[in-house]
């Protein structure tokens, strides 16, 4: 039977190796690049897919939606707590995607000195949503800031939006 002590030393070493980097030292987004394996062809903006491009024009009177089907990258769904929630639904009301965005009419001074805020008369924002052929409805809910409490729905037919009462 081989003396396992050297294995214990090695295991301790590997453990120390794994935990050596502190949280502050960890790096993100670093891909191990191999000079011999560089791609010969690539899409400049990454692989794009069919998306529903929805532009919302917002005024004191409410939200208007202009939609079309195009190519692009779906808007990130990571943040769900931003003031305005846009939910894309299928024919049975199932949620296809929900994205949250900043309140487009809210204005805040940049930086941290002499803070102030205002409300824009009008503004707009655009989101891109996956599976455009399956989307039948867009719901908008304003949760904070100007127009807080406002809700609107838009029926989507072949990529085109119309308001739903």
């Amino acid at each position: 039977m081989t003396n396992p002590a050297w294995l214990i030393v090695l295991a301790l070493g590997l453990g120390a190796c794994v935990s050596h980097k502190t949280e502050a030292e960890k790096e993100y987004g670093v891909t191990k690049a191999d000079p011999q394996k560089v791609p010969a062809t690539m899409p400049v903006y990454g692989v794009q897919e069919s998306v529903l491009v929805a532009t919302f024009i917002t005024t004191k009177g409410g939200y208007r939606a202009i939609t079309r089907i195009g190519q692009g990258v779906p808007t990130s769904t990571i943040h769900q707590s931003r003031p305005v929630l846009v939910t894309a639904r299928g024919g049975t009301g199932d949620v296809i995607a929900s994205v949250s965005v900043f309140n487009p009419r809210e204005i805040r001074t940049a930086g941290t000195s002499k803070p102030d805020s205002a409300v824009a008369d009008s503004s707009s924002f655009t989101v891109t949503l996956p599976k455009p052929d399956a989307i039948r409805r867009l719901d908008v809910a304003v949760r904070r800031g100007p127009d807080s409490g406002y809700r609107a729905g838009f029926a989507i037919e072949r990529g085109t939006a119309r308001p739903v009462r």
Binding site: A16, A24, A40, T41, G46, H79, R105, R108, A110
Partner: protein, 359 residues
């Protein structure tokens, strides 16, 4: 035999403790014009001494694929591979090397890969892509520093204020400092450097002065807002204005690097302000920096092994989990200086990076 195993194990232990060098790279000028020489710069530090550095350059040409996708392919006869190798027999702890490369023709997409090894063999590398020569894709955002699929990156577009720049390209010399000496020097951006991609708009835009009484105007070109890849835009101006933000987009003077990163902290990480009079809100995302009661703030801190007593009132109805003494960039943006994101904000950024990488 067993003695050899012990030696190998101990050598393994020693090797494990060896950190790869820290590495910073840049190129100049940003988006070089047709056939304009490009200077690559590699800076690295390692307490064990730097042994070797390599610079690889790969030359692509833009084209539109059969499916209409804006793409790049290896250019026949273009640069492809090792450009320069440096060996350092004296093993200095810091290096700062430059390599000038003759320019690239219209419609070029250039990749450079810098690889640095320390005297014990630990290696660090970074690879970036940038456009060179006449841009062939109309008003689409032009990559200044890219390295991956936009869906898994934070994509920032700079827009030249038409009041200050006769052409969008005129802004580029100011952006080099904002990116390399600004964003890349912040603690959270630095450790997630590869997660940040920078572009500029061929079209100019405009932001009004918050104080001048005119209608609030934040004109970001539709080719940026509708691009589907840009997460937020910054209007760059040189005329002093009182800047503001809306919809995640903002204006800034290029020298106010701290302000730019503070605003990107809102736009990218969903962080709130930590100062009186700022934008305050709760969030269901982890590691937030605003709480609507002292109790919820203290519970948050304690659940992350931070002192509950660190919670401080920001203004009526809002508490921050990070004490003012830490001077997080979300409490003081530093204007032209570059404060760090502190513990809670930094943890939010880590969560965001991990989620974005895995999304």
């Amino acid at each position: 035999m067993s003695r050899l195993r012990y030696i190998l194990a101990i050598l393994g232990l020693a090797g494990c403790g060896n950190q790869a060098p820290s590495l910073q790279t840049r190129y100049d000028p940003l988006h070089p014009a047709n056939n304009t020489n490009v200077e690559f710069r590699i800076q690295a530090q390692d307490k064990d001494g730097i042994g070797n550095a390599k610079l690889y350059v790969y030359e692509y040409e833009f084209f539109t694929s059969n499916t209409g996708m804006q793409s790049a392919r290896r250019r026949t006869g273009g640069r492809w591979g090792l450009q320069r190798e440096w060996n350092f027999p004296t093993q200095p702890t810091t290096i700062d090397e430059k390599e000038s490369v003759s320019g690239f023709p219209a419609g070029s997409y250039i990749s450079y890969l810098a690889q640095v090894s320390d005297s014990k063999g630990a290696t660090r590398e970074e690879q970036w892509y940038f456009a060179a020569g006449t841009w062939p894709f109309g008003n689409s955002p032009i990559p200044l520093l890219a390295n991956g699929a936009p869906a898994h990156r934070i994509d920032v577009a700079f827009v030249a204020d038409r009041g200050d720049f006769a052409a969008a390209r005129d802004m580029l010399p100011r952006l080099a400092a904002l990116i390399f000496d600004g964003y890349h020097t912040n603690n959270v951006v630095r450790r997630g450097k590869g997660m940040w991609q920078f572009y500029y708009s061929p079209e100019r835009g405009f932001i009004s002065d918050f104080d001048d009484g005119s209608p609030f105007t934040l004109d970001v070109p539709a080719s940026v807002t509708n691009s589907g890849i840009i997460d937020h835009a910054a209007i760059i101006h040189t005329t002093t204005k009182r800047d503001w933000a809306s919809g995640g987009n903002f204006g800034t003077e290029p020298q106010n690097r701290g302000t730019a990163v503070h605003e990107s902290g809102h736009a990218a990480f969903g962080l709130a302000d930590e100062y009186d009079g700022g934008g305050h809100f709760t969030s269901s995302d982890p590691y937030h920096n605003n709480y609507s009661s002292a109790n919820s703030c203290q519970n948050y801190n304690q659940s992350h092994n931070w002192p509950g007593t660190d919670c401080e009132a920001i203004q009526t109805g809002w508490w921050r989990p990070e004490p003012n003494g830490l001077q997080c960039i979300m409490v003081n943006d530093g204007d032209a200086a570059m404060p760090d994101f502190e513990r809670s904000c930094s943890s939010r950024a880590t969560w965001y990076y991990l989620t974005l990488e895995g999304s």
